[in-house]
């Protein structure tokens, strides 16, 4: 089973990397970009026997830092 975990900074948490990417896009001449937030994508290949609960636990215990980040689990196939 393929699982994607999207990790993003919580709203309000400063994202200097997103800001730098935003400036760089502007430098390339792209206009109309209001904001950029950088995140992370994890692609997990897990056995079908792994429960949703266990995947959720992986996110909470390691993949995301709940102090600053949110996560979203997407089952691909």
């Amino acid at each position: 089973m393929k699982v994607r975990v999207h990790v993003s900074l919580k709203p309000g948490v400063l994202d200097p990397q997103g800001r730098a990417i935003h400036h760089s896009l502007e430098g390339l001449g792209f206009s109309g970009v209001n904001d950029v937030r950088a995140g992370r994508l994890f692609e997990l290949d897990v056995a079908d026997s792994v429960s949703d609960e266990a995947i959720d636990d992986m996110c909470k215990k390691l993949l995301a830092n709940m102090v600053i980040e949110n996560y979203r689990i997407e089952k691909v196939a």
Partner: protein, 225 residues
């Protein structure tokens, strides 16, 4: 009673020797070196140091993998028993990632790695680690980090301030840290994490000695000398 300290080395630690040498020079006793894969710590430790560096290459998040390594379970148990634990730089990141200290360290607001001496204000001069300073005293300590921007929600920040758990504050804007916080204590006062490197300011050849009082006082407080 001889002072008994240990410094943990993670793969990618690079200030472990600095911290061990500082503890040895100030205490006069050997500092025990512990490896991240060790499941147990030596017995009867008076002090555990978590050093600076780039544990596990800063993969995932700074300090994230190190905080889940075998030795950290033992460090967390020791901290909960009241053993003093001191994390510098990456060690501070490991402490927040492990949940021993609140908050998180984000990328510096100016994006750049900051490597220079900064001015710190001592906020709490009563803790085990800081009683060698005066409250409000300004000291000069080097910093060297990319991810030192302290973040916590407003409620947590208010609680830290109210409980006197902000040990040090930057006297200048260094990395965008919330309320310029440079170092925080746990609620029991036996765990301190800070981004600046006091172990790099303990003798004149370092260019300053303002970090020495932290080690002197902690060691004196612990062995009652």
């Amino acid at each position: 009673m001889a002072f008994r300290s240990a410094v943990v080395t993670f793969p990618g630690s690079n200030c472990d020797r600095d911290l061990a040498v500082a503890l040895e020079k100030v205490s006069g006793t050997e500092c025990i070196r512990v490896w991240h894969g060790d499941a147990e710590l030596p017995d009867n430790l008076d002090f555990i140091g978590l050093p600076g560096g780039f544990s596990y290459g800063d993969y995932l998040r700074c300090g994230a993998i190190a905080s889940r390594s075998p030795v950290m379970q033992a460090v967390i148990e020791a901290a909960n028993r009241g053993v003093p634990v001191f994390g510098v730089c990456n060690g501070f990141q490991v402490l927040t990632e492990s949940g021993l200290l609140p908050g998180a360290l984000l990328r510096n607001s100016g994006i750049r790695f900051v490597c220079r001496e900064v001015s710190l204000k001592v906020e709490n001069a009563q803790s085990l680690f800081t009683s060698g300073y005066e409250s409000g005293q300004h000291i000069r300590i080097p910093v060297a980090h990319h991810d030192g921007n302290y973040h916590a929600d407003e409620e947590t920040l208010d609680r830290l301030e109210g409980e006197g758990r902000v040990a040090f504050r930057y006297a200048e804007d260094v990395n965008g840290s919330a309320r310029q916080i440079a170092g925080v204590l746990n609620s029991a006062g036996n765990v301190l994490g800070m981004m600046p490197h006091p172990e790099r300011a303990i003798e004149n050849t370092h260019g300053g000695t303002d970090g020495r009082a932290l080690f002197e006082r902690a060691i004196r407080g612990l062995v009652g000398a």
